[in-house]
Symmetry: C2
Subunit: 310 residues, 2 copies
């Protein structure tokens, strides 16, 4: 019953989808190697990149920052900056901002905080209030996702980043793919292809180096490495479509242990098929008529949502 | 609050995904029209077809038989025969066989019964016993699906059928598509394309005329038409992958009411993409080395499964 890696120590983790059994140290090494392989396989980084990392203070973004900081040290012409989005969620975001400040000070990494309230005029708590008052058939999560993506892109561009790194793990990735699937819009899959793409001059290409690591393993890595991180869940999350999709995938995983990897594989097959086909998938973006930020429509989704509030 | 169809009566059913509201009679007409449209859109039938219908005695196959019998009357050179599979499940199948006998006598339709025990040497109850004794990591449902498909094809061929009609409704169809999706094998989607295909001389092309009708509406139609049908659920079904997939889809439907239709749409997109692409999807079948029935491997799935039991 010994570790598959060093063949010496007893194993503490059994990776069911591959059969490997690891001691603490070899488990952490395996995660680091796997992420480095993902980065190189999809040409996510080059040696002179200025990388902006979205650092929320949750386990995924903390692990991502920790690993990218280690990688970045090997490349003297690269640079790392962290960006934190303050959505304005009471009794939730305050804790993470403290964690983010501590981490970035300890690790000697620059951090910038951008807030929804300042940039869009509304915090998520404000939006939730308006939704309740106007009895809108919308979730605060719909605003949060759209606003966060927009603001992260603006921030990364302002900081002149070459890449925007996001702490999406395998579970997040499988959820996004399945969400696109159940919406019946396969052409959107191209937007979540692993290789970073510059689809507009104003768009900073995104990378998701954790996309092949299950959430459980990210949590375990953070625990073994004693990384500081946020403990609370977002108070709005329980009601989102993503939450239902997550429950579904976990239900399916009981019978099909590889389900998350299989879903990831489908993304690649679909994108390959679209490349061969005459059916167009990815559109280049143009500027939103109202705010000038990149969008595929006339108005960007954030401006569209804000108009509902007003 | 009147019926969208006749504009006279009060409505009894609100079809949320389309907004239509129907009285009893107009609801039934809408179902019949929708199925006729599905049949003609995908060229499922021609006027001289000998159609074999898989009639289990459940609501779907009873509704399918009822509707195909009506359609068939209009075509003097067509013929309808029903085939019932007796899987050998105690306290379950006996009731349906009685229903099937009554229906086919009342409606004056030929019926043939084929049994797993006679054709394969094992009933599903036998197989369940062996699984428990040998502690196999398999479900009786895996055998049942494979055996049923094989036997229905053999039966339809013996009866010289041009088409084999199966009572799959929208829910079944969405489940099958999602099951293929979570297995990560998109190329299998071509096998469930709506248009019947002769992929081997020994294979009887299958049609699924109910594929665009939600399960709930099939049940309502059967109820309004007072069709006799089986009331019990299969005692093994609760533990299957399909059951988990069904629960997942129902969970997703809470947030995305069109989810089943969206999943169906994906099937069409994927199959269209495969047609444009150089990646091969559908393989022509050849003969199983053991039993001679059509398969894509050396041994057919049924022979492979039987070898596990022996």
């Amino acid at each position: 019953l010994s570790c598959t890696g060093c063949k010496k120590k007893d194993f503490v983790y059994h990776r069911k989808y591959s059969g490997e059994k690891y001691c603490k140290k070899c488990f952490c090494t395996s995660i680091e190697k796997k992420i480095a392989r993902t980065v190189s396989k999809h040409q996510m980084l080059s040696s002179t990149d200025l990388i902006v990392v979205g650092l929320s203070g949750g386990k995924d973004s903390v692990v991502l920052t920790h690993l990218l900081a280690q990688m970045e040290k090997k490349f003297p012409n690269s640079k790392l900056i962290t960006v934190t989005i303050d959505e304005g969620i009471k009794n939730y975001r305050e804790e993470t901002i403290e964690i983010v400040k501590k981490i970035t000070q300890d690790w000697n990494i620059e951090n910038k905080i951008y807030s929804f309230k300042k940039e869009f005029g509304y915090s998520i708590d404000d939006i939730n209030q308006i939704i309740l008052e106007k009895k809108l058939d919308l979730l605060p999560c719909s605003f949060c996702g759209v606003f966060r993506r927009k603001l992260l892109n603006q921030a990364a561009r302002d900081l002149e980043a070459d890449k925007l790194a996001i702490g999406f793990n395998l579970d997040d990735e499988a959820q996004t793919i399945l969400m696109n699937f159940i919406r019946g819009d396969l052409s959107r899959m191209a937007r979540i292809a692993p290789k970073p793409k510059k689809i507009s001059p104003k768009f900073v290409p995104r990378i998701r180096p954790l996309r092949e690591i299950p959430e459980k393993e990210i949590a375990l890595y953070a625990f073994y490495k004693s990384l500081p991180m946020q403990s609370k869940e977002c108070p709005y999350a329980f009601n989102s479509l993503r939450h239902n999709v997550q429950s579904s995938i976990n239900l399916l995983e009981e019978k099909t242990p590889n389900v998350k990897f299989n879903i990831l594989k489908n993304l690649h097959t679909i994108n390959e098929l679209f490349q061969d086909s005459e059916i167009k998938s990815i559109k280049n973006l143009h500027d939103c008529e109202k705010c000038g930020e990149p969008t595929s429509s006339t108005l960007c989704k954030a401006c569209e949502l804000i108009s509902i509030l007003e």
